[in-house]
Symmetry: C2
Subunit: 208 residues, 2 copies
DNA sequence: TGTACATCAGTGAACGCGCGTTCACTGATGTAC
DNA sequence: TGTACATCAGTGAACGCGCGTTCACTGATGTAC
């Protein structure tokens, strides 16, 4: 399908090295924070020389970006899966539990994600891609909520399904902060589930 | 009141230098992020030599901590002021507007605060002081809500005033993340005010 | 399937810079009289 | 209030290290026959 000789020349060894570096970088970033990690540390953790790093990435920033993208895509898929599990009618508590499970699974990921937020907050171009990720996530949630309309009532205060999706993401971010500080994963999960359920199933009963 | 000769020897020039360094550090941290700032940069921004830095702080971490503490106390006071402004009965929308105003006043502060969060997330001792700050803030909110009980109804889903205070802080943190990315201060304020009002004035009308 | 060859991927030594840290010195500040 | 003195606060040069970055080299990988 692709050009035979010079084009797809890369592969195998290279792909493996790249994956090794990304994996090691994730661990190191989670442990020390992006700002306090040197290229040398990542290489050492991955078991490669610094030359290998430069052969695969042009800067720590680039690696960090690639790392974030990879993991964020993974999470997005898992969330989509958790949302899709029900039939047409949305079982809010069950869906909330499943989503909560995925979102607060791995504290290391929250650490790296927050590092990335801090990074994006100072670089509009990076912020844009992060905002797009979030928009996709919100869209998936809003779409799911809209599909369940008629079966389940949304509280009027949040406006439409899109407003509700916004609120869900805000709740997630808020609980993330608390979890990063108190390290109480179970508490955070319970609290997030409670918040989300409250946001999405409130008693006042207006539909949209 | 204090020991006359050797004890309070410091003062004047020293206090001024320290304040200058803290002020300059705030600007530099906000602009580049804690992880990407050198002692030298802070000194240059403040107009001092590096020796002056070491005369006042033993590390960048220490300065960062002092800086955070100072500003966080300031904000806490302002929030307390915004909460105290009403009479005994709480005018929720008005109080929400005032608090929102204070909390989302300064994007630079949000940047530094988030840097500090990332820092605290990896150091339990730092996390503890940040958690205490948050607990004080929540306590002030909860106390205010409790005081207004009977005048204003809280939605039952959040539990007691303490639960409501938790939710308020989570909403704040969530909106902060969005603001850091999209830089839409007015939008963030409106959205936070909306969320808080929704959280605190919901129609179901149970008292606690 | 095996062999020769070309290119690629990673090595590791070398270079140099930025910056953390120290320290002898000097001008500033406060105190005693 | 002025002067002498002691101590303190900040200076800036010097040192050295960690690490980013480069590059000539070598072993690995894939291709052609």
């Amino acid at each position: 399908m692709a050009a035979p000789s010079t084009a797809g020349r890369v592969t195998r060894r290279r792909a493996r090295t790249r994956a090794d570096l990304l994996r090691a970088a994730f661990t190191v970033f989670a442990a020390k924070g992006f700002g306090h990690v040197s290229i040398e540390e990542v290489c050492e953790a991955a078991g490669y020389s610094r030359g290998a790093f430069y052969s695969n990435f042009s800067s720590l920033d680039e690696l960090f970006f690639a790392l974030y993208r990879e993991r964020a895509d993974l999470i997005a898929e898992q969330v989509a899966g958790a949302l899709a599990a029900d039939g047409p009618g949305l079982d809010v508590p069950a869906a909330v539990d499943r989503v909560t499970e995925v979102l607060l699974l791995d504290r290391d990921w929250l650490l790296v994600k927050t590092d990335f937020l801090v990074h994006a907050a100072r670089d509009p171009a990076v912020a844009r891609t992060l905002l797009e990720h979030r928009a996709r996530l919100r869209a998936a949630i809003a779409e799911r909520l809209a599909r369940a309309r008629g079966h389940t009532a949304l509280p009027a205060v949040l406006g439409d399904a899109d407003g509700a999706a916004h609120a869900v993401v805000a709740a997630y971010d808020g609980v993330t902060v608390q979890l990063l500080l108190d390290r109480d994963v179970d508490g955070a999960r319970a609290w997030l589930a409670h918040l989300l359920t409250a946001l999405l199933t409130d008693g006042s009963g207006t539909t949209a």
